[in-house]
Amino acid sequence: MIGRPKHQRLVLVSLALLAVLGAVLLAMWGLKDRAAYFYTPADVVAGKAGAGKSMRLGGMVERGSVKRGADGVTTRFIVEDGDGRVPVTYRGILPDLFREGSGVVAEGKLVADRSFVADNILAKHDERYMPPELGNQAAEHKAGQTLRK
């Protein structure tokens, strides 16, 4: 590194390029198995989602399916989308807008018997805020309606 300015500049430029390259490689390595994919109940029933991997499950909370466990903090319910049903277990305080018959996104893992253990439940916050996947479903739903008209 010691020496003429020109030489040093070359070293610095290569270091900077190495840093950027390193960042890209590191990010690719990290994303390979840490990105949580979004699945619908239909995907799960069709076996598209692997067990034990972090993922998001999105759909509607089936009416009449919400049951609270004996400990008072475990909730079981079914997420459905018309083509599939997946039982979900969640231990925690449900968000305020969690309702039967309305949309929900659960973050967690699929266990061996194709039921879903959620660490986190996202529900609609208010009319204007939705978790991305729900917003998407709603938008597609709307788009579908417009097409049918």
Partner: protein, 635 residues
Amino acid sequence: MIAEAGLAALWLAGALSLLGLFLSIAHVRGKLEADRTVRALAIIQGFLCLFAFAMLLLVFARTDLSVALVAENSHSAKPFIYKVAGAWGNHEGSMLLWVTVLGLSGAALAALSHRLPSRTLIAALGAQAALALGFHAFLLFASNPFARLNPPAPEGRGLNPLLQDPGLAFHPPTLYLGYVGLSVAFSLAVGAMLAGEVDRHLARAMRPWVLGAWIFLTLGITAGSYWAYYELGWGGWWFWDPVENASLMPWLAATALLHSVAVLSARNALKAWTMMLAVIAFSMSMVGTFLVRSGILTSVHSFAVDPLRGSFILALLAIYVTAAFLLFAVRARTLREGAPFEPVSREAGIVANNLLLTVILGVVFIGTLYPLLIEAVTGEKLSVGAPYFNAVAGPLAILLGILLAVGPLLSWRRENRPVLRKVALPALCGATALVIAFLAIPQANVLAKCGLALATGLIPAAVIPLIGRNPLRTPLATWGMAVAHLGAAIAVAGMAADTAFTTEKLTAAKPGETIEVGPWTVEFAGVTPAVGANWTAVEAELRATRGSGVHVLKPQTRFFTDPPTETNEAAIDTLLNGQLYTVVGKSDAEGRWQLRLWWKPLVTLIWLGGALIGLGGFLALAGHARRSWRRWRAG
């Protein structure tokens, strides 16, 4: 009339920025002597923006329901402070705040920079005017905050209750001062490259602006983190949410820039790199604005449904970033590097700091944008969250922390004294803490253990530069550095302690029952109704004790009427060695209430550290101000 006055001021400000842009081009090309005119235009333009913003505050304060924005986001029954703060709790209002800060930054640059060569300053003001022009156009054509409703709405739709919080009054303006304050660094870099005058004088002129923006960003992020922590009721202080990352990315770039500007001003080296960082820092601010303001985070699809705003910001982003990078590509070769430096020296340490910050910035950037990219290309939906960011950015942050301990102990130019002796004490502290952490808390995760050890070594390392100096004669900049680095150490300690030692209890309890969490015994006394200005609530009473004295906590579930929404209000008791954090949930048929309790030892250090980092920046800025003042008095 008020709304029309505001709108007129915005149009006028936009027109003035166009005029300023043309005049500055003419001046830089030597066709016209317009130094004073361009400065005056920048100042007037800034004040017109401020005037427009004041008009927006006024229509919100008066709840003028004939203004569409007020009708959509406010309500006559709202507490006054939230009526006013609600002015920037929505898209159009926050973009007006953005443009106002941009205008005021330009005005401040025009008014306060007397030591820069005229060509550089006028070119920088031209760049600032070009930025203002684009964002004025965005405001006027795609996000008019003053649009009228005819007939006026009978009542407003109300503000999202999550936003009805003192945090709203403080957090967005602070963050925007930081975000948009970086525009000055961008403009100065562009101006200096255009004028061909990239040297230590430029660095000295740029440094206070970077410092100021960085202080506000630091405080804004810290305040935002605490706001999310107590308002969401999830007990977490950082969620790696894209909106949070949008503020972290400019901060990472600004932190790197702050350090490389120091090298440029002290050693006249790293010219091209510093200019590059100045461009990247404000580009990250624009990327953040695009992410938050385009609606793309809600979904790529909704972006495609209503593409005007998103494409507008994206186009502005593309134009400004491309232009700046093209300029950089043309001019970087002509910049002559200064004196070479040794591999073991303060400046080499700062180069390593910059490289690491760049890598962290890169992985955060890729992780934040990856889901958008994948959805746009393949239609597959995915999210990237804490598992990715902690695994990838965590170890890099630890490395950066080690560097932070060593760097300031090195001298500029060449390290003649044995380095090992200086770093011996911090290294010993850190190593001992690491061994203790692995033996005493085997259950904690590795990152938390390393974080605790790092903090233990960093605290002495941060103070060493002050030791052996006369405190009154030590330059404020040195004090600032030590305080900011100490703040970083303390924040790391808080994060690691929270990760390693937090205990959580989730249970359903009947009134009269007691719950154990950490060292605490908490008695659930019962629930009572409560009422506020525009909400009613169910309030639980918890009596917590750990031996002596009873602490009463009252978490609530609040029901707002306009719009109808339920929110959780956590009750937090702050003690010297941590926080007891309580949330009340739903009741069941047997009369039990869900309760979630956390004992979070030392968690407050996170925000104390953030505040200290900001204070360190402020001390360094005060040092600049003192020097300028003395120079000014000396004539």
